[in-house]
Amino acid sequence: MKKRNIITMIFMDIISLENVSTVYEGERRPAIRDVNLLVKKEELVYVVGPNASGKTTLLETINGLLPIFQGKLSVFGMDAQTHGRKIRCEIGYVPQDFMVNPGEPFTAYDVVMMGRYGKVGFLNRPDEIDEEKIMETMKLLDIEELSPRPMGKLSGGQQQKVMIARALAKDPKIFLLDEPFSNLDPESREKIPALISRIHRKRELTTIIVTHDIYGMLEMCRRVVVMSEGRILDDATPEEALIRMEVSR
């Protein structure tokens, strides 16, 4: 029985979307519509597509930040509508183009620590274990020396790394990254994708990365989801997806 449970856990769909449509507040047209997507445990999926194709909406829907208009979304086998907060505690999320105003009074350490707050729980305070976890994560991303500096004084690339550290600090089971390489300097653009790929393998994370630059990431993933106008157009290996994209042009 135990063995069967483990097998089920390994091969189960961690994320499951069935005919999901999401509408932004105040809008009538769904940002994503009739999306069907199954993501297995420890899978690494790239989501690509032109601007306004629904990539960010897809991540925000999975993360429970947007209410579902139609369809069914389950994460870890739980209904996302009713267990949203519990699910979000297990998801590390890096938002798109997140830039902090220059005067913001929060240090890089504060921001990374905030990633653990959901797990620390209501009325509890972060303890030594949480502090160790933060320093370990910052070290992993090579940003320990940024720890006491105000977020607003960091460069775009440094802020991006802090946001990745924040998402990882909570020891997530699912890792959602929205254009995580957009603000990075050329050197970090080489290193960070490889680091994320390494973390994905080492920590056995289920990872979804939204990017518009599929060409640089080909060797890192086995599955690419192509989106356009809020729908999934293709779900294939990177090679197949590239051939179909070339043909359709």
Partner: protein, 281 residues
């Protein structure tokens, strides 16, 4: 310092300290959580409520608190349902509250511009009672306890509400909690500067502290101190120049804000960045 021996002045001084502390503290959350539009309407809601209390011979504290709370909790849902920006709703509710306040104040002609009406309009620190001080001390203790216990959640929401939500924090109850406490604080501080100027008491200290500090933990300590300093200085200026206390407090806190803007390292850095950008172009 003979005036300090007068019980009335002792109460006024203590009122300045407690109200300065509370408005300075809550102002930081209101400003950083981007609730200024709600705070603005709420302050004037308290003013309309106090006016209703005077007109109907009810306790102005209770009516002010009811109006402030109703205003605060209506803005969000109305904006959502009507699909309008909170700013748009604020622009409607602010003059509505002002109009209601003046209607209430003229509702009972025999009241006229009595001292009670003047208290609601401009505040009257000398009318502070021992009971008012007890309420304020209780409010200070309660607010500090709440902030201490839910600091981590408030801290994350002040940084970014959407990210706090993504990290598993249910942000709505905390936002409502801040709105509710701010409404109570505004109501109890109305005697200090009056309904027309109460808004400044909530925002000036926090805005001043945010100009020159880069650590939220320091801001949360310094803003109440600025609030207390501005209130006491305003009271002293008012005593020496024989002009209304409320106006003096607001003038002093505005001067403090002006000085912090001039000395702000953040503003200087922004100007330097702009200059460098121009040179680069």
């Amino acid at each position: 310092m003979i005036w300090l021996q007068i019980e009335l002045m002792q109460r006024a001084l203590l009122g300045c300290v407690f109200a300065g502390f509370l408005t300075g503290l809550m102002g930081v959350f209101v400003v950083k959580m981007k609730l200024t539009a709600i705070g603005y309407s709420m302050s004037h809601g308290a003013f309309a409520g106090a006016a209703l209390g005077v007109a109907t011979s009810m306790n102005p504290l209770i009516t002010a608190l009811s109006f402030a709370s109703i205003t605060a909790f209506l803005i969000g849902p109305i904006a959502d349902k009507a699909r309008l920006q909170a700013d748009t709703i604020t622009s409607i509710i602010f003059p509505l509250n002002m109009a209601l306040a003046f209607v209430f104040l003229t509702l009972t002609p025999e009241i006229g511009l009595t001292s009670q009406v003047a208290n609601v309009l401009w505040g009257s620190i000398i009318s502070l009672t021992n009971n008012d001080l007890v309420y304020m001390i209780t409010l200070c203790a309660g607010t500090m306890a709440i902030v201490y216990f839910v600091w981590k959640e408030l801290f994350a929401i002040m940084f970014n509400r959407k990210l706090a939500e993504a990290d598993g924090i249910n942000t709505k109850p905390f936002i409502y909690l801040i709105i509710l406490i701010s409404g109570i604080v505004v109501t109890f501080s109305i005697k200090l500067v009056g309904g027309l100027l109460i808004y400044a008491l909530l925002f000036n200290p926090a805005s001043s502290a945010l100009q020159f500090l880069e650590d939220m933990r320091k801001i949360i300590v310094v803003s109440p101190l600025i609030g207390i300093g501005a209130n006491i200085s305003g009271l002293l200026v008012s005593l020496f120049l024989d002009i209304p206390v409320g106006s003096c407090i607001v003038l002093v806190s505005t001067v403090i804000f002006g000085i912090t803007v001039l000395l702000s390292p953040k503003r200087k850095r922004k100007m330097e960045d702009k200059r460098e950008d121009k040179i680069d172009k």
